[in-house]
């Protein structure tokens, strides 16, 4: 870790709070700019995708288990499963594959 953990926590919490607080405390008018509204609409999906791919493939004990967990997560999510079941199924699959690999 490059800095004291408290420095990271302070910056994280400070920026997150300001982002939430400033508009509520200061702004009284509606944001009309269509580009900004559209941009903010797409941000969550873009950011989650960028964080997931390709990092997900290095997130477990092996590439094989990560691929298997990823495939199961995609399938369940496509079928509309909730967050927690998808996460648990991905973990279970990754664990099973890594455990099978230790047998060979």
């Amino acid at each position: 870790m490059r800095y004291n953990i408290w420095a990271y926590i302070l910056v994280m919490a400070g920026v997150t709070y300001l982002v939430r607080m400033l508009p509520l405390a200061l702004m009284r008018k509606r944001l009309e700019n269509k580009f900004i509204r559209s941009f903010l609409f797409y941000v969550p999906y873009a950011v989650l995708t960028v964080m997931t791919v390709p990092a997900v493939f290095e997130s477990t004990g092996s590439l094989a288990s990560a691929c298997a967990g990823f495939a199961v997560a995609m399938l369940l999510a496509y079928r509309g499963a909730q967050l927690l079941p998808v996460a648990i199924a991905a973990c279970g699959t990754a664990f099973a594959v890594d455990w099978l690999l230790t047998l060979f």
Binding site: V11, V15, M21, S38, F39, Y42, V43, P44, L48, C91
Partner: protein
């Protein structure tokens, strides 16, 4: 739906009641954060401190990524700014729905707990939002988030190594579960997601570009993909 337009929702008990399902959901999600944080090498108290001061899922996970990657404090600030920018929009929207009796001091306190779900429940109902209702609504989600993190952090340090390494994929499973159903339904989101995959892989694997640190990679790819989406597929009001 006994309330009509113009009525102020200001009941503490109604707020508390509406907060319980959110709190239960947060408990289960923040278990994953607690586990991830400890699996990444953070002490239990730091995981809980992050949850108690931030109360944001994607922002905390990304922040954890910056810490683990030895990112700078500037990268941390920029990452949080970009990832949590949507809260500014929610905060702005909520400011239009607050009861007139909500004081500036209330606004400073209430804004701490503007999350996707709390915002949705507070702003989605009819009539204006009173301070007592919002304070009631805040409580269960905050407790759920903090206690879930503690539970996950403590449980993680007791787990064998192979289970811990399998848990590394949990957070990505959650991200996938958030993105895929929306991408399936909304075509432009699918295109923005596809562009995000291409950009992220390019920055990760291509020479020169792969020198960029992970914190900036997230910001850079997100801003480009979301901006491209905003230019090519502007969002109509109904989809907000």
């Amino acid at each position: 739906m006994e309330q009509t337009q113009g009525v102020c929702r200001n009941s503490l008990t109604a707020g508390l009641r509406d907060g319980v399902p959110i709190g239960l959901g947060y408990f289960s999600v923040s278990i994953t954060f607690g586990m991830m944080a400890v699996a990444s090498g953070l002490p239990v108290w730091a995981a809980v401190a992050i949850s108690m001061t931030n109360v944001t899922s994607a922002g905390q996970f990304a922040g954890l990524g910056v810490i683990v990657a030895n990112g700078s404090l500037f990268e941390m600030a920029l990452t949080q700014l970009v990832i949590n920018a949507r809260y500014a929009l929610m905060s702005l929207s909520l400011s239009q729905k607050l009861d007139r009796r909500v004081t500036p001091a209330d606004r400073f306190l209430m804004s701490f707990m503007i999350t996707d779900e709390v915002y949705a429940v507070a702003a989605g109902g009819e009539g204006s939002v009173g301070r007592r209702y919002f304070y009631g609504l805040m409580l269960a989600p905050y407790l759920g988030w903090a206690l879930g993190t503690l539970t996950g952090a403590v449980a993680s340090s007791l787990l064998p190594a192979m289970v811990q390494s399998a848990l590394g994929i949990a957070i990505y499973g959650m991200f996938i579960a958030i993105v895929v159903p929306v991408a399936k339904k909304v075509r432009p989101v699918l295109k923005v997601v596809a562009l995000s995959v291409v950009l992220s892989c390019a920055v990760h694997y291509l020479p020169v570009l792969n020198q960029i640190s992970s914190g900036f990679t997230i910001i850079l790819c997100t801003v480009v993909a979301a901006a491209a989406g905003a230019v090519l597929f502007p969002v109509k009001e109904a989809s907000e």
